[in-house]
Amino acid sequence: MAIIDGCDGECQPRVGVYALTSCYGCQLKLATVQKIMEIANAVSFESFYMLSSASKHPADVDVAFVEGSVSTEKDLEELYEIRKHSRILVALGACSVNGGVQSWAEGEMTHEELHAKVYGTGKIGMKGLQATPISKHVEVDYYLPGCPPEEDEIMYFISAFLFGTFPEPKDYPVCSECRLAGNPCILIERGEPCLGPVTTAGCKARCITFNVPCIGCRGPVPHDTAWFDSLAMTFKNKGISKDQVRERFRIFGAHNPNLEPMLKKIYGGTD
């Protein structure tokens, strides 16, 4: 896999970039990184429809990047096929890693109720499913979060694979990057429900730098270190209600198994 082992560019790793239900923003980001030409020379894109109509689906690849959530039965079938044909599978972006905004109804509404709310009695040409992160269905090797992912992280992932090593996950929150950026703390100063303390770092606290509290698009910090309970306690002390807190946490974190128990711990069983 590593191209430094006397390969001299002849044995290019095969890469596939796929999309399930999503806005295609993640692969657009990947397609428009500054060094895309260097990447295209170093790897062989077997499947990347945004770049080439000669793409195969699915193709046998060394690394597959999959964006989007599983929201239809077709998505699920495709995902299984992709997994079968890929040595390494990377979940690319918020939808793929955490289900994305379309999965907000998880645990709130059944798929039928949700369908009725969005489409009424209208029919759609495919069998829909409750939107879920891809890790609910297949084994995922690496997670590259973000809405869309950051260019430096995309580059880090690809260069690490090419080097024959693996990308190290970030297990610390946006809050830390925000302090290093020298931003005033919105949560302390204005008491606004910023999700920086529970959201995976990597964005260099972009929103807060523009004076907007974090909504958690990069998803909860991995390895069970997103302390929803402690943050809910902080919000509660600032007079923010359970509903408000819950709604905010659920935008990008509805699938996190710790969310509901931790909220219940602070606010109790009632809303």
Binding site: A42, D171, S176, R179, G182, P197, M233, T234
Partner: protein, 344 residues
């Protein structure tokens, strides 16, 4: 020690002239409640009265993120990326932060000389500034409220300017060219005023006495219930360590280029509050739980620095002021030691 006086008006002129020597950084107000050391553009923006900056001054000598060296995997060579010798001048550093820099020196220069830190420190000029404490300050009980080393010049506020203590040869060279022009002789009234300022300052601290026996109580009460109660509130966000003027932990990472032939090794600030800080090979973690990590900071900050004969914590109050979860470090320590004013 040499003492001179400068008027407020001349101080602005002095700052203007400092800008010609190197890059000048000084405290600026960045929002309603926060201050930070920023590069000085207009000297009139410099804040002479502030409690604490959101980012500690150590970052000028030990940046949040730096490239240590680049490497070539084919030639198996590395190329060090040592800092340039440009001068960095820090104006307005409080005594707590000056002592914190000396604790940094004890690790990055005395123990294991770090060429990157050492070079920046040698090219740095530190100008201290007196201050009045708020309820978060406890440098006095840490015995660092008045420094006698670690600064080139120290400005003590007077009603009509500053009484300046000259601390080093570099400090003399900053004053010499402007003696009689910007700087004047100190008169007995100035000394009287400095004395009054110190008296007022001493009375303003909300904690009095000293905490010399604290570190022993920290060791004797390792299982104090405070750790369980307070770590429950903790967000594990690392703000306490990243804003701390004496935290030293870093991580390094190799970032290869796309062709895999070159790359760079970067160093960036780490925090003992993060899970991966204690993570080693074989997936073993020295500090597996949030409580373990919370506990670690309390022990580390209260341990003894022989170079300064103080604790590593200098009582600046940042870890409490910038804690989103409002965890009160000072009160928690007082609770452990059984000092009045703690929670219990």
């Amino acid at each position: 020690m040499r003492y001179v006086k400068i008027s407020k008006q001349n101080t602005y002129e002095f700052l203007e002239r400092l800008k010609k020597i190197g890059t000048l950084y000084a405290p600026h107000k960045i929002s309603e409640k926060f201050f930070d050391f920023c590069e000085v553009d207009d000297v009139k923006d410099v804040m002479f009265e502030y409690q604490r900056t959101i980012r500690p001054p150590r970052r000028f000598f030990y940046p949040e993120r730096e490239v240590l060296f680049t490497f070539d995997t084919r030639k198996v060579e590395l190329y060090e990326n040592l800092p340039s010798d440009k001068k960095q001048i820090l104006f307005g550093v409080h005594s707590c932060d000056i002592v914190a820099l000396r604790t940094m020196d004890s690790k990055f220069i005395d123990d294991q000389p770090d060429p990157y830190y050492k070079s920046r420190r040698e090219n740095g000029i530190v100008i201290g500034l007196s201050c009045l404490p708020d309820e978060y300050c406890f440098c006095n009980v840490r015995r660092v409220e008045f420094v006698d080393a670690g600064f080139d010049l120290f400005f003590h506020e007077l009603p009509d300017g500053f009484l300046v203590r000259v601390g080093t040869v570099v400090g003399h060279k900053l004053v010499d060219p402007y003696e009689g022009e910007l700087f004047e002789e100190v008169c007995p009234d100035d000394t009287e005023n400095m004395s009054k300022f110190e008296e007022k300052r001493t009375s303003m601290f909300t904690t009095q006495g000293n905490w010399d026996n604290l570190r022993y109580f920290m060791e004797l009460r390792l299982n104090h219930p405070m750790y369980i109660r307070e770590s429950e509130k903790c967000l594990g966000c690392g703000n306490c360590t990243l804003t701390c003027p004496s935290c030293k932990c870093y991580d390094v990472q190799d970032i290869p280029s796309i062709d895999g032939r070159t790359g760079e090794r970067i160093r960036f600030w780490d925090s003992c509050q993060f899970r991966s800080h204690g993570l080693v090979a074989g997936d073993h973690n020295f500090r597996e739980t949030k409580q373990d990590r919370f506990h670690n900071r309390y022990q580390c900050k209260n341990s003894y620095c022989s170079a300064t004969t103080t604790s590593f914590c200098v009582g600046c109050g940042r870890c409490t002021y910038f804690c989103p979860a409002d965890i009160q470090f000072k009160k928690n320590l007082m609770e452990i030691a059984g000092y009045k004013g703690g929670y219990s």
